[in-house]
Symmetry: C2
Subunit: 241 residues, 2 copies
Amino acid sequence: MMTVNEVSKLTGVSIRTLQYYDTIGLLPPTEYTEAGYRLYDDTAMERLQQILLFKELEFPLKEIKTIIDAPNFDRNKALEQQIELLTMKKEHLENLINFARKIKTTGVNKMDFNVFDTTKMDEYARKAKEQWGETPEYKEYKEKASNQSSDTQKIAWQNLMLIFVEFGKMKDKSPDDEAVQLQVKKLQDYISEHFYKCSKEILKGLGAMYASGGEFTENIDRAAGIGTAVFAAKAIEIYCR
Amino acid sequence: MMTVNEVSKLTGVSIRTLQYYDTIGLLPPTEYTEAGYRLYDDTAMERLQQILLFKELEFPLKEIKTIIDAPNFDRNKALEQQIELLTMKKEHLENLINFARKIKTTGVNKMDFNVFDTTKMDEYARKAKEQWGETPEYKEYKEKASNQSSDTQKIAWQNLMLIFVEFGKMKDKSPDDEAVQLQVKKLQDYISEHFYKCSKEILKGLGAMYASGGEFTENIDRAAGIGTAVFAAKAIEIYCR
DNA sequence: TATTGACTCCTACGTTGCGTAATAGTTTAG
DNA sequence: CTAAACTATTACGCAACGTAGGAGTCAATA
């Protein structure tokens, strides 16, 4: 039988934590002395080992409790689910890192809220559908959109907006300037990678849509400066010739 | 001037959040009506935009406050630091994912606490040093150990232990069995990748150390079953001939 | 004008996993 | 037997809000 101090020293778990695990019923001590001191035996220690194992994998304590208490719990299934969860978190972080890098290089400080609004994205998708109908490109978009988490999607749209921000900073140049044309290519590549294969045909249609004066135009101009949408459309038009 | 409701609908930020940002001083409204209603103007909205931007990058609110309030704050430096932080988190998750995968395949349910104890790791390192002196391998270890975060190191040790767990499950086989020998190679590769280049010479020395009856032997046996250390040492000896 | 419905305010508890006192009783070594 | 070391319980603190409750406000309708 070991006291809290001994258990703590052996396992590295703090005394407070042991007390806490007792109060939440995760790891009740084997018995108490008359004075109320907690005493743990080997069985309790094994349970603690289990707890530490799952805690290491970032399971929340409540889940750990149900997992360990369930007599015939499917360990592997829980592990797989947790792996999935961790993977999603990882991807989220990867997205954020890319986003932060781009923010740094473009030096944005204004960004339209609608860009952050996921519901608007579907609106754009619907508009695109109106223009293109049930083309293979639209199907591809829907597929990618449904496969990827909305989180990944959201950040993809944000990064797309950052490309327009770069357009915004080139407005003093001519639309056929080399740097501007390169930017158009970056746009095309980005769309191809994250939404659907973007041929020059489609890009042309997009350019027209950007400058058509609708919500898309507004959003671009608000995020990247007034006139950016039209400017980008011009550059796109030249690029697609 | 916009009310909380309007701001909320425009930005997707909840009313409660706006109230909260007011109480913590992050985003005080431009003014209050006589009735105490919060009113926001364009300047406040821009500030909110900034806040959302940094929040997206998982900056804590307190930092966001200091960042935005500092008149000549080095944005890029803050972004770089945040990128680093996010990268560390990502690496941690990658480690955990690998750990979880290995746990799943090996089916461990016992793991010695000392394995989780970082302080012991340095002890092993010191022992290794006694055996090898200031060899280039030891220098390599120290370099890798200092470069990698202690977190990554810790999980590397855990995964090393899992390799011994697999040894433990092969104890009924002969040490020169093909599967066992393959396991030795896996051990060698793992050490090479995560600690230092592990030649057969060094591996031989390690094998002797594992079976020498010291703390290392105890830890291996406790984590992977009694007799595992000796068994692994035999297999290693054969492998190194 | 009174009422209704929509909106807003503030207060305050719940969440997660403990850290950190503060106060008081217990055990052990000298 | 006393002091040192250990333990217990209680309870606040943190991060970033969600949620609920009670009450005052605003705009429009009956």
